[in-house]
């Protein structure tokens, strides 16, 4: 289980996270929703080891991760697909995927996961020699997901994977999230603006407002919740 306790993050004078606590049980999909600037990305980035100025505790199966650098976090089994996809436009699809497996040495395992990624995203197989930058937005998102999977994460953190995508592609993204969770038992920590879709796939959900958790419950509970409905589901 990934457990965050009383996490604080500061950027200069800005107190972005003010004591966030949340739990991501093994094998579950947990979503973190909230308005722009609520601190969702900061939470993921702190877990990933990208944020320097932080306090509190982040444990994974009892091991403290707070002081680790991003490479050590990846090696601990937690991989993040950052906001905005951030694929490498000048590298080929194949190179992008291999980069996702950078911390691994198990050749056979990498080959097997590559085959699986190509099965999940047949388009990536067709385009494996194409430069990442030539892909459409939806394909780039698939590449970003595939790249994260190549790290063989136990926990995968996705920062707004559906942002800016066409409705049909959004549906695919959520399908993939369900698939990797169900088929491989990957734990997913999902940050989304698309609250409705996220709550529907999530086992557990947290609502973040200006750096604090204001609500938590199962996905179904929050979909039914009056306050969530008004604030995030458009009525």
């Amino acid at each position: 289980m990934l457990k965050i306790t009383d996490l604080h993050v500061h950027y200069g004078g800005i107190h972005a996270l003010k004591g966030v606590s949340l739990e991501v049980p093994q094998g579950k999909i947990v979503t973190l929703i909230g308005a722009n600037g609520a601190g969702k990305s900061s939470t993921l980035r702190a877990i990933a080891g990208l944020v320097k100025n932080k306090k509190g505790s982040i444990t994974y199966n009892g091991r403290e991760l707070l002081g680790l650098n991003p490479v050590e976090v990846v090696k601990a089994g937690i991989v993040m697909a950052p906001e905005g996809r951030r694929i490498f436009p000048h590298l080929t699809v194949m190179e992008n995927l291999h980069l996702g497996a950078y911390s691994r040495d198990d050749k056979d395992g990498i080959a097997a996961d590559l085959a699986w990624v190509f099965e999940l995203f047949p388009r990536m197989k067709e385009r494996q020699d194409q430069k990442g930058g030539t892909l459409s937005g939806g394909e780039q998102q698939m590449l970003a997901l595939g790249r994260a999977i190549m790290g063989k994460p136990q926990v995968v953190m996705l920062d707004e994977p559906s942002l800016g995508l066409a409705p049909l592609v959004v549906r695919d993204v959520f399908e993939i999230i369900k698939t990797i969770n169900q088929e491989r038992g990957m734990t997913v920590l999902l940050v989304e603006q698309n609250a409705f879709a996220a709550l529907k796939v999530a086992h557990q959900a947290y609502v973040l407002e200006t750096g604090t958790v204001v609500l938590e419950g199962t996905g179904e509970q929050l979909i039914a919740d009056q306050r969530v409905c008004q604030a995030y589901l458009g009525g």
Partner: protein, 297 residues
């Protein structure tokens, strides 16, 4: 000009050009990753030559061994410079690392003056390099071929590392997006250290061959070739390895051929590179192979 003379000049151009290219690769790789103009690079070039001098005269090493030792040593020195002078400034404004590199450059020059003294010294040159081969009317010193051939081998090795190895993939990733590379598990500091090591080793190789070609060394010997190689890198498109190689060779040809065809201009030889720089900056600031590089925030 006779065809024989032309061939002679072309070979000289190629030699000079490949020496520039080897230095330019280090500038371009470091710039490509850190957006840093590493002014200390020209001193690495100089020290590469001095270490061979030392190895041969002080430790009586056989020349090839002294060369290998020097390249390894200088690569280590480049890594140390990064570790001590640049890495602590990774999150600082970029100008800080630039100023730091100017500081390192002066520091190394002065250390060289203290240890090696400012007087120019002649260097040992293996005898086989001076036995000319006569092909028709062309007289070729083995060294004239030795330098480009060795340079090409070094460059092939480099291309192999950059395009065929995992570390190379890491380098190419870091040059675009350090943070995301980190998230993929790329050990950024290690890859940067390796980059400095490779760039410095190549600069040392260039310095060593430079000393063979113009068989005198002194602590300031890196400055002008360093500037010119930097210009070659800008001309080729800074950040691009192919660009650095092409830029270096083109610059070598411009220098030698202009003087060959217009001997009156010999006195302006060092100015050509700078004229080229101004031309590039005016008409094609991204250089031959350069992509527009966004400023990193």
């Amino acid at each position: 000009m006779t065809p024989e003379m032309f061939i002679q000049h072309a070979l000289n151009s190629l030699t000079l050009g490949s020496l520039y290219a080897l230095i330019a690769i280090g500038y371009t790789m470091v710039y490509g990753i850190l957006r840093l103009i590493n002014f200390a690079h020209s001193e690495i070039f100089m020290l590469g030559a001095y270490f061979v001098f030392w190895g041969v005269s002080l430790f009586s090493l056989p020349w090839p061994l002294a060369v290998a030792a020097s390249i390894v040593f200088t690569a280590g020195l480049g890594i140390m410079v990064d570790r001590i002078a640049y890495r602590p400034l990774r999150d600082a404004p970029r100008i800080s690392a630039l100023i730091s590199s100017i500081g390192v450059s002066f520091f190394l020059q002065n250390v060289a003056i203290v240890f090696f003294q400012a007087i120019p010294r002649g260097v040992y040159r293996p005898e086989w390099m001076e036995q000319p081969w006569i092909v028709g009317a062309v007289r070729i010193l083995p060294i004239t071929l030795f330098v480009p051939v060795l340079s090409v081998l070094f460059m092939l090795g480099l291309l192999y590392i950059v395009y065929r190895t995992k570390t190379g993939l890491g380098m190419r990733a870091i040059s675009k997006d350090i943070e995301t590379s980190y998230l993929m598990g790329v050990n950024v500091n290690r890859v940067i250290a390796i980059t400095f090591g490779i760039g410095s080793g190549l600069a040392a190789a260039s310095g060593i061959m430079w000393a063979l070609r113009y068989p005198q060394i002194q602590p300031m010997m890196g400055t002008i070739p360093g500037f010119k190689a930097f210009i070659a890198a800008v001309f080729g498109g800074i950040g691009s390895i192919q660009g650095a190689v092409v830029g270096g060779v083109v610059l070598g040809f411009i220098e030698i051929m202009t003087v060959a065809f217009f001997p009156d201009l010999a006195g302006y030889r060092d100015a050509f590179a700078f004229i080229l720089l101004i031309g590039v900056l005016l008409f094609k600031p991204t250089g031959l192979f350069g992509a527009r590089v966004e400023d990193k925030v």
